[in-house]
């Protein structure tokens, strides 16, 4: 496989695509949102249980490409237990990473497993795939009861 392609489809991403974590509907969710990318038809539903500003639990359902599915899966494992503010902060860094605006090695390292998405920066059309779940999560956190579209930014 081409090096650039291997950088995009890292093993962790292929693994999360094949067996996504927290891929279910959270029955006791008190924050939910629906995300949609009209360009590729990707849809995602995020379910969150937020108490006292802390994400107690998070899950998702939906269909999408490997990048979007793995992104949702990893996001769910990482923001669990985090405060609302922290989750928003991680999203900012993640967004900088996939758009190529995070170059500081240390900062990338702080992102932990999310660093596997660094290859996305070389594929501008896939940035939306990687960030859909995150936008939807932020929307759920803020309890905006509307459909998030990647085309409204």
């Amino acid at each position: 496989m081409d090096a650039e392609l291997r950088e995009l489809y890292q093993q962790v991403i292929l693994d999360h695509n094949k067996s996504p974590r927290n891929f279910k509907k959270l029955e006791n969710a008190n924050h939910t949102a629906e995300g949609y990318n009209p360009l590729c038809g990707d849809k995602i539903n995020i379910y969150m249980d937020v108490e006292n500003g802390i994400v107690k639990d998070v899950s998702f359902l939906g269909s999408g490409c490997a990048i979007s599915k793995a992104s949702a899966s990893l996001m769910s494992t990482i923001i669990k237990g985090k405060t609302k503010e922290k989750a928003e902060k991680i999203f900012e860094k993640f967004h900088d990473l996939v758009t190529g605006n995070l170059t500081d090695e240390e900062e990338i390292e702080e992102l932990g497993k999310l660093a596997v998405f660094s290859g996305v920066k070389d594929f501008p059309v896939r940035v939306k795939c990687a960030s859909l779940a995150w936008h939807t999560m932020i929307s759920a956190l803020n309890k905006e009861e509307k459909i998030v579209s990647t085309e409204e930014k």
Binding site: M1, C40, S63, R126
Partner: protein
């Protein structure tokens, strides 16, 4: 990889020489990620022969001037070339008069012209337009957009599991409120060639005119508007080896005469005062403003190119590639073809159970293969087949069986990565 197809056209025997044809298209020499370009996105747009590219350069280098009304030499030259292009289009689709050939920006604008001029002005609230379940958004949205002025009811002919139209209840759909049947000739997503002759004959039995969206037909089939007896026909230049930004609306004179102009401005008038305007004759009534002169002339060059090779020879070649590629793709485990009509053009839409089309598209790109992934501007059709998107390979006159092999081989590689 030479393939010789001999076709008898009148007294001319034409030889289909694939290697020579490939040399006519300079872009086919391009390397993508170090691999030879395998261009299979022809339903989105076709590549351009050198002779068409040269005609653009020639126009801007030696002819450029605004057309009509100019008294200087260059204006006369460019007017002549522009009107000759119109005649080439007329001959290509066998229209009875050049007055029936209107230059537009493309299929989308052509359909919007009919919606805005014909439907918006001459239809009444509650009138009905019949479309099909496999329309491109460009034959759905224009009818919805005129709703603030005219509330038109859209009725749709359903699509079966093979991707063919279910015509059983079509005739029953027609009633005294039906004002137009507007259908896609060849589906861009499925490749289905619709039985438009039958549709036209049924519609005409009830005096309902028919518009054909021929965007995906014009480059694959012999289109003869008089034989078809369609009332309107729309197509785009860039899908038949011509430039982008130029398209055609064919309309029978009897309809075009009654229709008010779509856009107002220069060229479409005969006399203007502040009190009122009288409009120019056909086809100029529908060509407001400076036309896309260069691209119209180059569309003429592209049509000459197709005519020289012969549309029948092209169709025969493409059908062979379609059959070959279909069989190759069906050998791939887990691959399902969406659209299995008996009468199909060279389009193959497919899905994998566990691999998203976007991932397929990105992987193929790194093999030098260009395909399209997504809903192909036919979201209602995607909903009909319960898929969010498909991968679509579409073939043109310069594609080869070797390229179909490359596609199949690369798809097998993707399976290895995702399994």
């Amino acid at each position: 990889m030479s393939l010789n197809v001999e076709t008898q056209t009148g007294n001319d025997v034409k030889t289909f020489d694939i290697e020579k044809i490939r040399k006519d298209f300079p872009i086919l020499k391009t390397l993508i990620h170090g691999k030879p370009l395998c261009y299979l996105d022809n339903a989105a747009t076709t590549q351009k022969p050198q002779i068409m590219i040269d005609s653009l350069v020639e126009y801007y280098s030696s002819m450029n001037a605004n057309i009509h009304r100019g008294v200087h030499h260059l204006s006369e030259v460019s007017t002549k070339a522009f009107e000759e292009a119109r005649l080439k289009v007329k001959d290509f689709i066998n229209a009875s008069s050049e007055k029936e050939i209107i230059f537009t920006r493309g299929t989308t604008e052509s359909i919007n012209l009919v919606a805005n001029s014909f439907a918006k002005s001459l239809f009444h609230d509650g009138d009905e337009v019949i479309i099909t379940g496999m329309e491109h958004h460009s034959n759905i949205v224009p009818w919805q957009l005129i709703e603030p002025i005219k509330k038109i009811k859209l009725r749709t002919i359903k699509v079966d599991d093979n991707g063919e139209l279910i015509l059983d209840d079509f005739e029953e759909m027609i009633n005294e409120r039906t004002k137009l049947v507007s259908v896609v000739y060849v589906s861009n997503s499925l490749g289905t060639i619709n039985p438009v002759e039958k549709i036209i004959s049924i519609a005409h039995k009830h005096n309902v005119p028919v518009l054909l969206d021929a965007a995906q037909a014009i480059q694959h089939l012999k289109v003869d508007v008089q034989k078809l007896d369609c009332d309107f026909l729309a197509f785009s230049g860039h899908k038949i080896y011509g430039p982008t930004g130029i398209g055609i609306l064919y309309g029978k004179q009897k309809f075009l005469e009654t229709m008010p102009p779509f856009l107002g401005g220069g060229d479409m008038i005969s006399k203007v005062t502040f009190e009122g305007t009288t409009f120019n004759e056909l086809p100029y009534k529908f060509e407001a403003g400076t036309s896309n002169i260069a691209d119209a002339i180059s569309l003429g060059a592209a049509l000459d190119y197709v005519t020289n090779i012969g549309i029948d020879a092209i169709a025969k070649h493409e059908n062979e590639i379609l059959d070959y590629a279909t069989n190759k793709l069906l050998e791939i485990p887990g691959l399902r073809i969406i659209g299995n009509a008996k009468n199909k053009s060279s389009v193959i839409s497919f899905v994998f159970e566990k691999i998203h089309p976007h991932d397929v598209g990105t992987f193929l790109d790194f093999e030098g293969i260009a395909i399209r992934t997504g809903h192909h501007c036919t979201q209602p059709l995607m909903d009909r087949f319960c898929v969010p998107a498909t991968s679509r390979a579409s073939f043109a006159l310069y594609n080869t069986k070797e390229e179909a092999d490359t596609l199949a081989k690369s798809l097998k590689k993707i399976l290895e990565v995702f399994n």
